[in-house]
C-alpha cells in the first residue's frame, strides 16, 4: 500500500484475559513522520494494545517488528530502550514528585560521579516545557497541578526520551481548547523529527486535523486501515460501530408510565452542573458522552456515594435527601457501578452472600444469619438472571465477567428497587452476556421499573434507550427522543464537533 517501510509493526497480536479476548489477531503499522489514528469504541482493545506495545502486557500470540526486525518487549524498560514511549490514558505519574522529576524518573541525567545532575535536568525541563509552551515551574510538585497541566508533564516526559515511536492514548481528553492547539503543534514537531505517532482519540475533528492514516478496531478485532484523506467521516463511524443497530437489541415497546423520579438543578462544585431530567416508569433513559464527561459522577451523587452535590431529587413526588448509598437504597434507587470488581462485588464472597448483602437486616431482622433464607433469595434472582455457576455457593471471583455483572444486577433487583442505574453495564463482558443483560433490561421495563443507562457504546445506547441525554464536560448538551437517534448526531454532540447539527 505504501512504499515507506513502517518503523514499528504489530502482526497477528492477540491478548486473552480469563474469559475475554481483549485483542484477537490485530495488526498495526506505524510509519516515520506520520500520525496514525487508532479508532474504535470503548472496549475495542485500544488501551490493551498500548499496554502490549509498551511492555506492560505480554501478548498471548503475535509478533512485533521494529525496523522490520522481530523485537521482544518484555518490560516497560525494553520499550524505553527501543525508543517507544507512551502517554497513557490515565496519566501515570508521581503526585509527590516535582515536575522535573516526573519528566526524568527512570532515565535520570547523571554526572560522571553518579550524582544526579539536577541542574541539567532543570534546564532540560525548562527547554522541553517551553517547547510545548507549558511554562510550569520545574520544581513544583505534581499534586499542585491541574489535570491539563499534568498532561503537559506527561507529554514533556515523552519528549524527554529520544523516542522514535510515540503513543498518545486520548491525550486531549482533559485539555482545554488552547491547550489542544499547543498540543497539535507538539505533534507536528514530533512528526518533523521523524517519529512515528500513534494517536488514539474519540474526537473526529482532532483525528481529521492531525492524523495521516487510520486503523479501526472493533470488539478486539482489526477492521481496516487507510489514509485519512481518502475516508469520509461517516465511513469511519460505520466501520467503528459496525453492526446493524436495530436488529441486535431486544428492545420491547413498553408504555411509558408516570414520572417516578425528577432531578432538578443537580449541581456539584467540580464535577457537573445544572442537571435536570425526569424519568418515567418503564422508560430507559440513556446517558451518552465521552469518558470523563461527568456521567458517572452524576449517577454516583444520585446514589449518595459522594454528597457534595446540591439540588432536588424528587421520587414519587417526595423530595428526598440522599446522603449515603443506604439512603438511596431505601428510596428504591440502586446503582450498578462501572467498576464491577472494585465497587460492585465482594469477589471473595459466594454468589448468595453477594446478593443478600444490601438487605441483611431485612432478611434477618433479629441480626442472626439465616443461610437458607439468603440462599433462596439468591436462588430466585440468580436463576432469573441465568447466572452460570455450579451453585450459588461459588465464589464470585471464579465467574466470568458477564456472570459477575449478572450477580451485581441480581443483588440490586433482590432489593425490589424502583429505579435502577446501570453504569456501562456491558463493559468488558462477552457478547452472550451482553445480550442477556440487554434482554433483562427490557424485562425490567415491562415490570414497570425505570432504568438509567450510562453507556459509551453507541449501538447499545441507541438500541436500548427510549431517550438519550448527551453530556459533555459536566453539562447536559443535548437530549434526543428515540425517533431522532442517529449515531452521527450523538457523536457530534458528545465531542462538540462542529458538524451539521448543534
Amino acid at each position: 500500500m505504501s512504499e515507506v517501510t513502517p518503523i514499528f509493526s504489530l502482526l497477528n497480536i492477540s491478548k486473552h484475559f480469563p474469559g475475554v479476548k481483549a485483542l484477537d489477531k490485530v495488526q498495526l503499522d506505524l510509519y516515520p513522520g506520520e500520525v496514525t489514528a487508532l479508532v474504535g469504541e470503548n472496549g475495542a482493545g485500544k488501551s490493551t494494545l498500548v499496554k502490549v506495545m509498551t511492555g506492560i502486557y505480554q501478548p498471548t500470540e503475535g509478533e512485533l517488528y521494529l525496523d522490520g526486525k522481530p523485537v521482544n518487549i518484555a518490560t516497560p524498560e525494553d520499550a524505553h530502550h527501543n525508543g517507544i514511549t507512551a502517554i497513557h490514558q490515565e496519566t501515570v505519574l508521581f503526585d509527590e514528585l516535582s515536575v522535573m522529576e516526573n519528566i526524568f524518573a527512570g532515565h535520570y541525567l547523571q554526572l560522571p560521579s553518579g550524582r544526579l545532575d539536577w541542574k541539567q535536568m532543570e534546564q532540560e525541563t525548562i527547554r522541553i516545557l517551553s517547547e510545548i509552551e507549558a511554562p510550569l515551574a520545574p520544581k513544583k510538585l505534581l499534586k499542585e497541578l491541574s489535570i491539563g497541566q499534568r498532561h503537559m508533564v506527561a507529554i514533556a516526559r515523552a519528549l524527554s526520551f529520544d523516542a522514535r515511536v510515540v503513543i498518545l492514548d486520548e491525550p486531549t481528553a482533559a485539555l482545554s481548547h488552547r491547550e489542544i492547539e499547543e498540543f497539535y503543534a507538539i505533534v507536528y514537531r514530533l512528526q518533523k523529527k521523524g517519529c512515528a505517532i500513534l494517536f488514539i482519540s474519540h474526537k473526529f475533528d482532532e483525528i481529521y486535523s492531525i492524523a495521516d492514516r487510520f486503523t479501526v478496531f472493533r470488539d478486539g478485532c482489526y477492521i481496516g486501515e487507510g489514509k485519512i484523506a481518502e475516508v469520509e467521516e461517516k465511513e469511519l463511524v460505520s466501520m467503528m460501530v459496525g453492526r446493524s443497530i436495530d436488529t441486535a437489541f431486544p428492545k420491547t415497546e413498553v408504555d411509558i408510565g408516570d414520572c417516578i423520579i425528577e432531578v432538578k438543578d443537580f449541581c456539584h462544585p467540580t464535577e457537573f452542573d445544572a442537571i435536570n431530567f425526569k424519568l418515567h416508569q418503564g422508560e430507559i433513559l440513556g446517558f451518552y458522552g465521552l469518558v470523563g464527561a461527568g456521567r458517572t459522577e452524576v449517577m454516583q451523587s444520585l446514589f449518595g456515594v459522594s454528597n457534595n452535590a446540591s439540588g432536588q431529587i424528587i421520587v414519587n413526588n417526595k423530595e428526598l435527601a440522599i446522603k449515603s448509598p443506604s439512603d438511596a437504597i431505601k428510596a428504591g434507587i440502586v446503582y450498578v457501578p462501572e467498576e464491577r470488581q472494585a465497587q460492585g462485588t465482594v469477589l471473595e464472597f459466594p454468589i448468595y452472600q453477594n446478593i443478600s448483602l444490601p438487605q441483611l437486616d431485612k432478611l434477618n431482622p433479629k441480626g442472626f444469619l439465616n443461610t437458607a433464607t439468603e440462599y433462596s433469595l439468591a436462588d430466585k434472582y440468580a436463576k432469573r438472571l441465568k447466572v452460570k455457576a455450579p451453585n450459588w455457593n461459588e465464589k464470585v471471583e471464579n465467574l466470568s465477567g458477564g456472570n459477575q455483572q449478572k450477580v451485581v444486577i441480581g443483588k440490586w433487583l433482590a432489593t425490589e428497587p424502583k429505579i435502577i442505574i446501570l453504569d456501562e453495564p456491558t463493559k468488558g463482558i462477552d457478547i452472550g452476556s451482553k445480550a442477556a443483560v440487554h434482554e433483562f433490561m427490557s424485562e425490567l421495563t415491562e415490570q414497570g421499573l425505570a432504568v438509567i443507562m450510562v453507556s459509551s457504546e453507541l449501538p447499545e445506547i441507541m438500541g436500548m434507550a427510549d431517550r438519550i441525554i448527551v453530556m459533555r464536560e459536566g453539562l447536559m448538551v443535548n437530549e434526543f427522543e428515540r425517533a431522532q437517534f442517529s449515531a452521527e448526531q450523538l457523536v457530534s454532540a458528545a465531542t462538540g464537533m462542529t458538524g451539521e447539527l448543534q
Binding site: T75, V92, L97, E101, A105, K143, T270, E473, G474
Partner: protein, 327 residues
C-alpha cells in the same frame, strides 16, 4: 513567606523554635550552645534510626524490628569486645554494621521475595532478634567493666566541640541527604513508594526497592547499636525495648506519610529533634519527665491530623469553570 509556611519542614522548624523559646524563657541556660549540642548528641541515635525507618516507610513498609536489631547487634558487638578486649574497635564497628545490615536484608528479603506484609515480617523478626539476644547472652548483662576503654571512649571523644557520637549522626544525615536527593537509587525509592503502578510503568522494581530500604535501615541500626552500647555502657536483653515506637513517631512527626512516597531527611531529623528536646527539657523546666510520653503521643496525633488536612486531594475536575477557579 507564604510558600515557606506551606512547607512542612518550615512549619516544624517553627514549632521547634517556639518550643525552644518557651523553654528558654523559663531556663535561659537551656539555650546555651553547649547544652543544645548536648541535646543534639543525646538525640543522635534516634536521628540515625529514624532516617533508616524513613526510607522503609517511604516504600510503604514499616520496620518494627529496628530496636530489636539494635539490641541484637549491640549484644554481638559487646560480646566480641568483652571476650577479645584487644580486638580493634573499628573492626568491631564494621562487624556491627555488617551484622545489622544482614538483619535488615533478612527483613527485606522476606518482604520482597516471600511477599509477606512488612508489619508481619518485622513483628516476627522483632521477637526473633530479641530472643536471639537472650541466646547469645544467656540472659546475663555485659557491664561497663567488661568492655574495653577504647570501646567506650570513642563516641565520647570531643572533636570541634561535638562528641563523635554527634558527628556520627551529622555524617549519617549528610549521607542520607545526598542519597535521597542526588542518587538515582534514592529517588527510585521515592517513586516506588509514591505510586507502585507508575513505578512499574517506568521500569522500577518496587519489591527490590523495599529490600534496599530495609537493608539501609539495618545498616543504620547496626551503626546505632555500637553507639548505643558504648553510650550506655551496658548490654542486656531489654536494650532499646519499645524504642521502635519513638523512631516511628519521629518519622510521623517529621511528615513522613505512612501511605508511602513522601518524607524528607530534614523533616525526619526535625521530628527526632522535637522529641529529643522535649525529652531533655522537661526535667530542666521542672515538669516531671513522666509527661514526655503523653506529650509525644499528642504531638503525633496532632501531626497526622495536620498532615491529613493538608493532604486532602483535589479530585478530577470536569467542569471548565471549576478548572478555572482552581488554577
Amino acid at each position: 513567606m507564604k510558600q515557606l509556611l506551606k512547607n512542612r519542614e518550615a512549619q516544624l522548624a517553627l514549632v521547634i523554635l517556639s518550643l525552644l523559646a518557651m523553654i528558654g524563657a523559663i531556663i535561659p541556660d537551656f539555650l546555651a550552645i553547649s547544652n543544645l549540642l548536648g541535646v543534639y548528641t543525646d538525640t543522635s541515635i534516634l536521628i540515625i534510626l529514624a532516617l533508616g525507618q524513613m526510607l522503609v516507610i517511604i516504600t510503604r513498609c514499616i520496620d518494627l524490628s529496628i530496636a530489636a536489631n539494635v539490641a541484637l547487634t549491640g549484644m554481638v558487638v559487646a560480646t566480641i569486645n568483652s571476650l577479645y578486649p584487644d580486638f580493634p574497635v573499628p573492626v568491631i564497628i564494621l562487624i556491627g554494621a555488617g551484622f545489622g545490615t544482614l538483619l535488615g536484608m533478612l527483613n527485606g528479603w522476606l518482604v520482597w521475595k516471600m511477599k509477606i506484609p512488612s508489619i508481619v515480617v518485622t513483628l516476627g523478626t522483632m521477637a526473633i532478634f530479641r530472643g536471639a539476644v537472650f541466646l547469645i547472652s544467656k540472659g546475663a548483662w555485659i557491664n561497663a567493666h567488661q568492655m574495653s576503654a577504647t570501646f567506650l571512649e570513642i563516641p565520647r571523644y570531643v572533636f570541634l566541640g561535638l562528641p563523635i557520637l554527634g558527628w556520627c549522626s551529622v555524617i549519617v544525615i549528610a549521607a542520607m541527604y545526598y542519597f535521597t536527593r542526588h542518587r538515582q537509587l534514592g529517588r527510585k525509592i521515592y517513586a516506588a513508594g509514591n505510586s507502585p503502578t507508575a513505578a512499574y510503568y517506568i521500569g522500577v522494581d518496587v519489591g527490590k526497592k523495599q529490600f534496599i530500604a530495609f537493608t539501609i535501615s539495618g545498616l543504620l541500626a547496626g551503626i546505632a547499636s555500637y553507639l548505643w552500647i558504648s553510650r550506655y555502657a551496658v548490654a542486656y536483653v531489654d536494650i532499646a525495648n519499645g524504642f521502635e515506637m519513638l523512631v516511628i513517631a519521629s518519622c510521623v512527626i517529621g511528615g513522613v506519610s505512612i501511605a508511602g512516597g513522601t518524607g524528607t531527611v530534614i523533616g525526619c531529623v526535625l521530628g527526632a529533634l522535637f522529641l529529643g528536646i522535649i525529652n531533655n527539657a522537661l526535667p530542666v523546666i521542672g515538669i516531671s519527665p513522666f509527661w514526655q510520653m503523653a506529650i509525644s503521643g499528642s504531638v503525633i496525633i496532632l501531626a497526622v491530623i495536620a498532615n491529613s488536612r493538608s493532604e486532602r486531594k483535589v479530585g478530577r475536575i470536569i467542569l471548565r469553570k471549576a478548572v478555572q477557579n482552581a488554577s
